[in-house]
């Protein structure tokens, strides 16, 4: 599990994230929501260890992240970033195999190859394996990147949980793939050693799929809990400055703007 302890981050006296503590449990889908500039990406980057110079610390399996080496981190923690650009033509298979780089030395072992094949089958991108990544559509690219990231932590990590951090993974996906993607996350979460934290924009996707929602507002946690507790009319109005209506479908409270 991940324990965030008193982390804060400021740029020139302006806090992007005020002192924050929060736990993320394995086997549950944790979604971070909030308006633009609320500190969602900052929080995720601090958890991933991508930003230096912040206060507080982040514990992975009760041990501070910076005590693990960079390559150790890569064997149990995978991150899907926003706006990934690939500067040279590489095949889809080569991109996915990059996820396994932390696990082998010179050439991929059979375990690495089977991880790639399984993960590509899971995302149904087998047909793209030989294609040049730079020629894919936005949605295809996103699925390939997701496959790469998942290949990185495809097998259980020895003596640790596995951690999957996703920064707006749904941006380039159409409605069909957005939902398919969330359902696939649910399938993955059947393995109880997986901790998933994702930043999303669509509140109704959070209502439908999240086990736990963290609502950020102006660099602070406004509320944290189950979607129906957190995404109330009052909270949404305070965070986004717009008042939603609510409808109840299958015992879930969806928001209409």
């Amino acid at each position: 599990m991940i324990q965030v302890r008193n982390i804060a981050y400021k740029v020139r006296e302006k806090y992007l994230l005020r002192e924050t503590s929060i736990d993320f449990a394995p086997g549950t889908l944790n979604l971070i929501v909030g308006p633009n500039g609320a500190g969602k990406s900052t929080l995720l980057k601090l958890i991933a260890g991508q930003m230096k110079g912040g206060e507080g610390m982040v514990l992975y399996n009760k041990r501070p992240l910076h005590e693990y080496s960079v390559s150790e981190q890569a064997r149990f923690r995978a991150v899907l970033s926003q706006n990934l650009e690939v500067s040279f033509p590489l095949s889809v298979y080569e991109i996915v195999m990059m996820g396994r780089y932390a696990h082998f030395n010179a050439t991929p072992e059979s375990k690495d190859k089977s991880a790639c094949e399984e993960v590509m089958a899971f995302f149904e991108i087998n047909d793209l394996a030989g294609r040049d990544y730079t020629t894919l559509s936005g949605g295809e690219k996103q699925r390939v990147q997701f496959a790469r990231v998942l290949a990185q932590i495809w097998y259980p990590a020895p003596e640790n949980y596995r951690y999957l951090l996703l920064d707006e993974p749904l941006t380039f996906l159409d409605v069909h793939y957005q939902h398919e993607f969330m359902q696939q996350l649910k399938v993955l979460l059947r393995s109880k050693d997986l901790v998933v934290i994702a930043v999303v924009h669509d509140l109704n996707l959070a209502v439908k799929y999240a086990d736990n929602v963290t609502l950020l507002y102006e660099g602070e946690i406004l509320a944290n809990g189950t979607p129906n507790e957190i995404l109330t009319i009052d909270n949404v109005k305070k965070a986004y400055g717009i008042e939603p209506k609510m409808i109840l479908v299958e015992e879930k409270k969806y928001l209409i703007f």
Binding site: V70, R75, L84, S87, F88, P89, S91, E94, Y101
Partner: protein, 342 residues
């Protein structure tokens, strides 16, 4: 695996081409040497026979070291290009970008102007001056590109500083050529266009061992280099120690390019064009680019050297002129006709 087999064909074609060019390059030149003379020369060497004919001596003391030097110089330049393009994530980059070759050219120019006055050893003086200049300019680029706050140098800062320092050193070379007496100025000009005419077994051993060592180091890092296509941040998330990787790659490049430039002068264009030709052919996996680049660079420089020796026989053209004159049109043609990624 499927992809390895694809690359196998490329390696085979390039190796065959290289062997062919190697044979051509030891046979043709100011005098022609036949295959039977080549075999008899080798026979004499192995039997310890000292009574060599003129052609046999030309072969053993001039042609063979020259052909070998072509191979090692070509590999160094092409692999340097592959490494720099991967590191800077930028297809316009060539190995001289971080100041190495212009610094080496400056060192060499300094040697031509001051060497005889200072009574420097002819065989060692030039390579040392060139290597010193190359290493010095690279260090300057590094120190200037480093940010005080973080102690790290960003790739963009390196790139821009490299361009600036390159311009500075090239104008220094121009200045030296301007104030030099005529024969010295000619030497500077000739050297800055590259030549393999000075090849000896000694230069083959130095350039060869450096390029083989650097090639192996580069291969060891090819996997990590691949991750840089998505940027340094992503590479770090995939478990790569980016700072160490950058230093290793830059060190390999400086060593390879400075040593190579020190012995053969500035050969332009090989480091830029070879990686691109390979990318057009089978994509951008760095392991493939490094192995393929070593073979293709060797073949290209061998070919250019044969042309440089043959067109104005018995005089020679500077090889840098041949690589540009032949390389540029071919490259532009390929860029315009082939479907490419940018």
């Amino acid at each position: 695996m499927r992809t390895n087999k694809q690359y196998g064909t490329v390696y085979f074609i390039l190796s065959a081409l290289l062997v062919l060019l190697f044979i051509v390059s030891i046979c043709y030149g100011a005098v022609e040497i036949s295959i039977s003379e080549i075999t008899s020369a080798f026979g004499n060497v192995f039997s310890g026979n000292k009574g060599l004919t003129l052609n046999e001596r030309i072969l053993l003391q001039i042609r063979l070291p020259r052909a070998c030097l072509c191979i090692f110089a070509g590999s160094s330049l092409a692999v340097g290009g592959v490494l720099m393009q991967a590191l800077f994530r930028n297809p316009i980059v060539e190995p001289g970008l971080i100041g190495t070759s212009s610094g080496a050219a400056f060192g060499a120019a300094l040697y031509f102007v001051l060497g005889s006055t200072l009574k420097l050893n002819a065989e060692w003086g030039l390579p040392f001056a060139a290597f010193g200049g190359g290493a010095l300019s690279t260090v300057i680029v590094f120190l200037l590109a480093e940010r005080k706050e973080t102690g790290r140098s960003s790739v963009i800062a390196l790139l821009l500083t490299g361009i600036a320092i390159n311009a500075l050193f090239l104008s220094c070379v121009g200045f030296l050529a301007y104030i030099a007496r005529d024969p010295q100025a000619r030497s500077i000009t000739f050297w800055s266009m590259g030549s393999l005419a000075g090849a000896s077994w000694y230069s083959v051993i130095v350039v060869g061992s450096v390029s083989i060592f650097c090639l192996l180091c580069a291969l060891r890092n090819s996997k990590q280099l691949n991750t840089l296509v998505m940027g340094e941040e992503e590479a770090r998330l995939m478990g790569v120690d980016v700072r160490k990787l950058k230093l290793t790659i830059l060190f390999i490049n400086v060593l390879m390019i400075a040593i190579c430039t020190a012995f053969v002068g500035v050969i332009s264009f090989v480091g830029l064009v070879v990686p691109h030709l390979l990318r057009m052919w089978k994509g951008s996996d760095n392991r493939y680019l490094i192995i393929g680049g070593a073979l293709m660079g060797a073949a290209l420089v061998s070919m250019a050297d044969v042309i440089a020796r043959v067109v104005l026989r018995p005089a020679e053209l500077p090889i840098g002129i041949v690589t540009s004159l032949v390389g540029v049109p071919v490259f532009i043609y390929l860029l315009r006709t082939k479907k490419y990624y940018f």
